[in-house]
Subunit: 431 residues, 4 copies
């Protein structure tokens, strides 16, 4: 059995959300100092949200330390309630720290266009030829694989998996608190100390003492509010639309053999769809933003325009959209075409949906593990059976559809055409 | 006289420090949406401090809005106490908003190596061919110049200048609060509401009611603490040293005609020392970081090594240094040379100094305007005459010298040489 | 028309919840300094909650200033949206400041036993021979009456009434924030700045912009949580039960002509049910607590015991109770009697219920005015039609029943009898 | 050796300052529930400060729990650094919890007039016939005495004494944070987590790592600010003056055989200067306030007036006073006498002074133990040798003298006499 390797003295990171992040294990310290983990400093946690909430500029590095710290505290509260070996505890801490290590810049949009899943890169970073892999192996040849399994939810100890992937886990708890803190939106606040106090290790995952039900309710409400107030904010989504269109245009130009003034060296592997781990690790937000700077002076009008829009925050406007109104979309496409505004780049329906809490829904793509309460009798009960508030929202998926387009371009059209389009869009002037 | 042009409805930005930033003037709104102002989103307020305090990742955009908001509140408290015309008020607001608009990425180090002052670029942006200039001109042909003068402290209304450039102005108040908030270091907190309540318009600048002296003391102490705890933190300074060395090396290689694998297009104007406004505006942190990514794979060992150090946060270590110990520095240089570690890039003395408060010191490069208190009698008294605490620290410049070097390189040397160097440095093992 | 009488300089009170409470009107200043208003310093806002949350020791004085300050801010946001005369504004401010002025010590329990309504005393204080009345009259002979009407909800301007008495008014907003702050329970936090920003004067009361619906939802949830977490906490209710029993016993003893060692001078008017305004104004918490000190040494075993319980926080324990289980209560009464523990003082069912939000229910005793949203079209919609979360909880009254009793007395009984009682109560040992 | 007696499950108190107060030991739990400790709920921590800062209404109960919690955390950080037996740890915790248990209502003024020291009562409560004594004795016959010695600073382990009585101890740390929180005055904030991190057990008391010096400086500054902003606020002092005069008058009347309408039963032992422990324990703020209610209707004009002043917050005004100006005081006394305003009750010089930090001053009444820093070398250095800021203020006692008097009485005098007095006082109208 592996012996704990501790630092001579505990190290701390000053953290505005958790006050301090405490590190005692040499392994964790070395992981934090690895090149692959430091790379997370160059990838923002909230993607394009900073366009809406200027405070939301914090990195995934920031968040990853926070998830680790919450995990550390959870394990502390488990002391004396359940036996976890040193190795298992470290497994939990590593999974918490590294769960996002495969994220790329603006993952949401970038992955869609260049077709990959950051989850695969997480696995590759843990198990491939990386500093992280070498550090993890100090705990045993198969330790990197075990960490990857915990993150991928395939690990056989369900309790451990639930600590990092369930409806109320270290990851979600940190990002709600952290995103609330940096954006200044208080809705994300909930009493984490209280939640940690009522959390108990169950057989199939963490469970919560019934006496703490209100704290759990409060957490669910915070989550609900943050989704609709922050994560799905239409301005953020507009920036995502513009971003997606930039990637889409660059890819199309590349496939058409467009002569870029300067070869987009660091993006070539992605454009060619032949990405090595090293290529992936060189990619960060600064690379994307750098090419936007170049492309805003390229010869292609669409690419140029879209990059300038993103850099200068001259985003698309939006109107509510009824997804059954196929006629409207067809009409608008036609009108845009006749106005010489390519609808493939300048007209987009964006959909968001959220399921604030779910008990269980066999066969869905996201089968959610329900939150279980331990009653004073020791019996387990599913949260929504006890909480009216949670019951009221559980299983109710809420959808939101919006149609994005560049209002300035529409306004610049000849009076009649512009009027027709605006009429169809239902907007009379600058929204 | 210009008529106020107001927005139909007040707009707000959610701000974690001031709760909301309120905008009523169309001019301000348009300035915020200009390309040159949006560029500040891509330049961090605290340069390399995020390496020490991971929360310090906020941008100058963030801070600039905050300075504007504090100015707005100052002007509000002046209502009924002094008459300022609409134009003068707007002048104050614009100066507050735009005071940092000429900043470049990692200004401190970049400016040193490429020899320019961001203040000149601020003026150029206000008065040159920019969106900002066109927006400002709506207030009159010479309005941009007047804004530039307020920022440059040459404007003839001293009160207005003091609001943005004095020992207790909108700029300093915002950055102390903001940097404290994002880094999580509480020292920067002071009671801004109290300070705003006791601030009064004086003839030669803002003055403070005597009854609020303790709030001013508290502000001075916050400032003092933030300087030594955050701004001068040795790890941050180490990152600055590495950064400076990267720029220095890139410049030297360029001057030597080194064949870069890929031409550093966006840096050429700086390397050639022929920078146009457009070149300057294309420069942001992503450009610098992008080239570091390229350069970490370049053929030059020094550039490669330094870039990897910065990106992976493998910074230099440090020891305290006595600036009179010339002998030590000479010896170390020699030892480094004999170890094939170029001291020009790997051995650096870094000095910081701070003057927490000063009353007046004719002829110094930084003649500081003292903080004046209005006594109940109406008489003005300089702060340190009333405050023992401020008196105790006023005029006392404090210096700090440290010697930076790559410990890992030293440790990797043959035993004897490594021992000699460490002996001379006074470090026995990894600090 | 009355001219505004302003203070030479604005006065402020440092307030931990609102930062500062601002006073500009001489009238408000004088009201705060009146004897009747200062009396509120001697009455706690949360009654017996400090037994559960030791931080909840703040007074009604504290809260009343807060309600006034919120009202002041609401009126500020109304500027330019609706015309209110100086008199009407002052009416709102006075009603906010004075709405609780008739409260007595531990009102909830005291009023029940001594049969009166503090609302009647509020009216008496406003319209009777008091400093407050004389100050209010400076605005006109009928001004005190108008203030009383606003507080009593009988004033004819529904908008003004709604500012102080509706489901989201200045009173509720202050107490949620304030009680959360002092107790340290974060649930009560909501974004008051956001709520103030979206509040609009409607014809029949305040309405809220649809875009701020989430802030309103968040407020409703805070309210819900505070009710169940703080206001209805069973330990607080236990203290209320003990308190009620003390008053009940003292009254009974008085009616029986019990020879009190020292005449309860300040309580005589209440015991005799002949209370003059001056008597009422002499009553505060210190009077009640003083008599408890005396009574804990009285000759009556019940009174003695109950007072010691309250002073030393040796409260009753509780079990859940099914209100339909009449049999249980009857059995317990009998068992208590046989154990010589008078059930009239030592066995009590306490019921709480809450209706977190209601749209409208004609004919109920508490007809609640619904919260209305203004849609972008200008149309008004009732909140629960738009908010799923609010809909889920609206109109659902939740009840809670508990049975309170002195566990220590039960434990001290002879084994068999004690066992029987505990068996019937369903408790095996000290809960 | 005594075995730890732990609670089945840790109990917590929700605390707004420390988030939670954690209790694991049965002994601590029982002490908190003792009658003598619960009595602290009826004594305010800040005496009359609530007249100045309405939020400062919290009790000594509140503070005592906080001191206990800080002590618990200090002991936690000592784990692994120094060996303390279970008994010693409990000794520290008990001393922290009980250090203020002998305080009476408005101690400062009450003790002065009735000539006793609350410290003596603390000892009496610990060692006399009390619930607390019986609980403490469970740890050994001499345990109460040892707790008393730690509190009295006569215990032989200086480290343990220093945790509760030194310039930076659990008591001071809690009250600064707590008083700042409740009053809303931010000055009292300092980074307690950082201080706890750098605190080390030294041989003669706690010491601090040099690297944490700035946190200690910040604490000293907080202390300095709280003293001058809050604790010595002239309005608070005015209330203390009025209070003292009430006690003084009541005592004088009693000694003169004045026929009180109702005998002040609970105060008799104090008036007779024959106080038993039981008498002392019956005394709390409600008793004092109750008698003020009675006395405001007494036959003595002075007592009546003073009580009404206190209850209605109609306090004395003040002017700055030069303590060497004996002439002024003599003149004023004469003028007051001629105006029939008894100077013995209506004219008072109040002095405050503070020594923000001191290193050592042999022979002074308050010999202060200096704050020691541990340098990286292990050597100890006194704080002010390293900190310029602390040096600047150390050993400098600051004095403040004010003259208190009832302005309203002066204003009500005939024009000429009133003018003469105001002239002499240097005030022209209501201050």
């Amino acid at each position: 059995m592996k012996q704990p390797q501790l630092l001579d003295e505990e190290k701390v990171f000053k953290d505005p959300v958790h006050s301090y992040v405490h590190v005692r294990d040499k392994l964790i310290w070395d992981l934090i100092n690895s090149a692959e983990f430091q790379r997370l400093r160059r990838i923002r946690q909230l993607g394009t949200s900073f366009f809406t909430f200027h405070g939301g500029e914090h990195s995934r590095f920031n968040h990853s330390l926070g998830v680790y710290e919450i995990m550390r505290r959870i394990l502390e509260t488990f002391e004396g309630r359940i036996h976890l070996s040193y190795e298992e505890k470290l497994l939990c801490l590593c999974a918490a720290l590294l769960h996002d290590v495969g994220h790329g810049p603006f993952s949401h949009s970038f992955e869609k266009v260049f077709r990959y899943h950051h989850e695969d890169w997480t696995r590759a970073i843990l198990q491939g030829d990386t500093q992280i892999n070498r550090i993890l192996k100090r705990m045993g040849e198969d330790f990197p694989k075990r960490v990857a399994e915990v993150i991928a939810k395939t690990y056989d100890n369900k309790l451990i998996v639930s600590l990092i992937s369930s409806q109320i886990d270290a990851d979600r708890m940190d990002y709600l608190l952290r995103d609330a803190y940096y954006t200044g939106v208080n809705y994300g606040n909930f009493e984490i100390e209280r939640i940690l106090r009522v959390m108990r290790p169950g057989e199939d995952g963490i469970v919560f003492k019934y006496s703490g039900m209100h704290a759990v309710e409060d957490y669910i409400m915070s989550r609900y509010q943050m989704y609709w107030q922050v994560y799905f904010h239409p301005v953020t989504r507009s920036a995502e639309v513009v971003l997606r269109k930039i990637f889409q245009r660059a890819k199309e130009l590349f496939l058409q053999g467009f002569p870029f003034r300067q070869e987009p060296t660091l993006l070539l592997p992605f454009l060619n769809e032949q990405v090595e781990l090293a290529d992936y690790l060189s990619l960060d937000e600064s690379v994307i933003l750098f090419y936007m700077q170049l492309w805003r002076n390229e010869n292609d009008a669409v690419l140029k325009d879209l990059c300038a829009r993103f850099l200068d925050r001259n985003l698309f406007k939006y109107v509510e959209y009824n997804p059954r109104d196929f006629r409207l979309l067809a009409d608008l496409k036609e009108l845009f075409q006749s106005a010489d505004i390519d609808p493939a780049y300048y007209l987009e329906v964006d959909t968001t949906s959220d399921l604030p809490y779910d008990f269980y829904r066999a066969g869905e793509d996201e089968e959610r593990i329900p939150i279980m309460l331990v009653m004073p009798s020791g019996e387990l009960t599913e949260l929504s059976e006890k909480s009216e508030i949670v019951q009221a929202i559980s299983g109710k998926r809420r959808f939101d559809y919006k149609l994005y387009f560049p209002m300035d371009k529409v306004m610049a059209l000849p009076e009649e055409l512009s009027g027709k389009i605006r009429d169809r869009l239902g907007v009379m002037e600058d929204a």
